[in-house]
Amino acid sequence: MNVQALRRPAAWVWLAAMLLGAWLATRATYVADLSAFLPSSPSAEQRVLLEQLRHGVTARVMLVGVRGGDAALRGEASRGLATALRAGGEFDSVNNGDTLGAPKAVGELLMGHRYLLSPAVDAQRFSVDGLRDGIADTTAMLGTPAGAWIKPLLWRDPTGEMARLAETLLPSGGPRVEAGVWVSRSQPRALLVAITRAGGSDLDGQAQAIAALHHAFEPWAARGLSLDLSGAGVLGVQSRTLIKAEVERLALWDGAIVLALLLLAFGSLKALGIALLPVASGVLAGTVAVSLGFGQVHGMTLGFGTTLIGEAVDYAIYYLVQARPAAGSAPGAGALHWRRHSWPTVRWGLLTSLAGFSALVFSGFGGLAQLGVFSVAGLLAAALTTRHLLVDLAPDGAPGLGLRMRLGQATARMASALPRLRWFWGGLGAAALALLLCLPSAWRGQLTHLSPVSAKALTLDASLRADLGAAELGTLVAIEAPDEATALQRAEQASARLDPLVAAGLLAGYESPTRLLPAAATQAARQAALPDADTLRARLKLATVDGLLPADRLEPFIADVQAQRQARPLTRADYDGTPLATALQAQLLPAAHGRPWTVLLSLRAGTQALPAARLRDAMQGLPDTRVVEIQPELDALYARYLREAFWQSALGALAVLLILYAGLRSLRRLWRVALPLAASVVLVLAGLTLAGVALGVLHLVGLLLVGAVGSNYALFFDQLAQQDAREADAETLASLLLANLTIVASFALLCTSSVPLLVALGEVVAPGTALCLLLSASWARRPGGVGQSGP
């Protein structure tokens, strides 16, 4: 190493920056959920959806299946697991269909407010006829298995208000019950639904909850049972683990391949070490910039970062190869020569890359913006490290020779042969363009394609959901209101519009928070319908004539009615700490982060199909009430995502052209630089379209990267065309080939990943950059240079 370098400020500035960066990077928060790929300025419908995805209870639902053994053992395990999880601190509520195991406090709360909650309560209900009918309905259940539930409450609740409440609160399409617990209809599996205390996007909390669940299950696992686990949080944790493992694996292999290539090329460990400095600086700078700018680093951004190795190592290769001094020149002359002749070209290449990626910085989608910031910061750091640190550390380029000479010769031979293929490439490019124009667009990626969740995990999730009978319509009615009272009132209005649809069989039912928490006015109206003790006693006497229940035994009923006449109306706070709080939280979202109170009524599909238009008609005229179809909204979300990314890429491409023109100052040269890039993009797109790949946002990002890397090649060929030095040609060409080999190797590696978005990047960038080099070489104008063979 050049000791002189330590006397220069560049080395110290770099070292200080790296230390600071490393410290910041260790303190960064790393996330891996899908939320970074959701927009920051959604439409009203999308806002509802995203709120659900980010903070809603749906994101905290953990679906648990217990397999193995026989039904009795699974039932025992289900009860044991539920008890253990309820006792632990990780879960808000656990439901396994076991009515006996359900906490008693809820029953007391509902019992104590049943006349405020029951939709049946009105003045008619407490008339003589109403009482007689109510009592007859209840006593008709005696002598049947249902009688066992009714008898203990009979004298307090002869009109069966609790049975009514149970009907409205229990969804009518639940799972099958066997051995006292929920079980699957399609396979031997007991089912539980647990709501984690941790939020859905708190993956550390989710991981803890999963660990707690596995721990609680240990005794049953020892008896041969196994767990099926799914839910948003579970998938999030799996994704994070997968991405982490993939990033580590790819970084390792990528590193090994790049090291091997460099070692072969330079034959020197020192050169190798130096070549890696810009890479390390780039990845660190990118990570820190994203962490500082966004408060967190998405796992995918890091995955992308490992691929930045391919781009950043180019700078080092260019320098180390091209800075070789001419024979007999003074030490350090190579660096001076490189700065004068090659750095301007690298700088133009850098500027075009920055222009391309900075378009992403302004994306409304956090994930894309992170990629943009990461790339801009990473490339800048890598280039600056090359320009200022490498020239000090290795003033005469790479000391070792390795296979460079032979590489240079081979490249020169290739470069001189390639222009013969110029018409072949031209024809192929034109054919590809025609193909793209004729074939239907392959830009049909979906939001779920961004998710690294495996098909197997999704199948398990779907089968557990199907078992639970959550035949959700995929449609929500979302109501917004400035305060809680208005929200509940509007929910009751919407419910009144939904009830006829349920009666007509168009809906199997719907969830509404007003079942647990009727609007204050409604509760007051029900209280007003309750008669005083004497009136009620007199009416009961008449109503029970010839009946099964003697009036004089019904004093507990009269006492309860009197107590509830005076009772304080139920509020949200009354449900705190009960399992029902979760249900309520899912349906009634308090105002937060500047958004209003929101009520979500989720609908269950009926026996007949219900068109969304019919539902919208039914909701017509209700204030701030919207019908939200989940899948179409998600599709629209992604379409917007893709559209936005297209515009940003187009702007980026335009910026690249402008910068190139500013540097080249000749439309003719601009044409020569831009054409190979454009043709490569067209060829890659045509190839992927023919292969039947569904193109998405990550393919677009890959194309940007192709442009960023490829513009360097094209510019170098342009530079060569302007010069007339044969020897420098061979060196420069060798550096280009070496740079290209590393990047193709890195990205080809990505194609082996099990994370779809990394594959998307790989399958675009690997062939794209290779084509850029080939096409630039084929179409290069070589006055008096090695490639002088074309017309």
Binding site: G143, P145, E167, P175, R176, G180, G469, L548
Partner: protein, 193 residues
């Protein structure tokens, strides 16, 4: 008498005894029941209910109908109109103007009663065996099928279901609840198949 002839006689004798006294087992009853694809009947039901220190009898009557393979309707006409219909796995209850449908298998205590009757009416051995330990007594002309739910938790609600009948016709369904309450439904077929 040649040995061959003796064997033939013995076989004939065996066959005739088999035909004379119908074997009292479930295996021969169920095909009879299975052959009946639909039917209608009237019923009267008495329920013995204990409420604290009082024991009361609730009486009701109405119509029953059945259509293979899995539709069963019980319509109570007195003292109040009430309808309970099962089709496949869907249980629909109507009381006055209210109607409610639930998947039958989400309410095991109701399912066990439905399957006892439906399984007998359709002669479905596999279905009955899955839910109950069976005890057959009597003859084809006057039989009783005693069914105890296999699942221990269910036995804490429904202790046993006893179905009696005359050949392919059900005449009585008795349900013994674990709490001591009991219901007896007497059935009179109104339309023979």
């Amino acid at each position: 008498m040649t040995p061959l002839r003796r064997i033939v006689w013995m076989l004939l004798a065996l066959a005739s005894t088999a035909a004379a006294a119908a074997p009292a087992d479930l295996g021969s009853l169920l095909p009879l029941l299975a052959a009946v694809k639909s039917g209608e009947a009237t019923f009267t039901e008495q329920r013995q209910v204990t409420l604290q220190d009082m024991t009361r009898t609730l009486e009701s009557s109405g119509r029953l109908s059945f259509a293979a393979p899995d539709t069963f309707v019980r319509e109570t006409l007195k003292p109040r109109r009430e309808r309970l219909a099962v089709a496949g796995n869907t249980l629909t209850m109507n009381q006055g103007s209210r109607s409610r449908s639930v998947p039958l298998d989400t309410v095991p205590e109701a399912q066990v009663l439905v399957e006892a009757v439906r399984g007998t009416l359709t002669g479905n051995r596999e279905l009955l065996d899955r839910h109950f330990t069976l005890q057959f007594s009597g003859s084809l002309d006057q039989w009783t099928l005693d069914m105890v739910p296999r699942e221990p938790l269910l036995r804490e609600q429904v202790a046993r279901v006893t179905v009696s009948g005359v050949r392919a016709a059900l005449t009585e369904v008795q349900v013994q609840l674990a709490g001591g309450d009991r219901s007896t439904m007497k059935i009179v077929e109104s339309r023979a198949p």
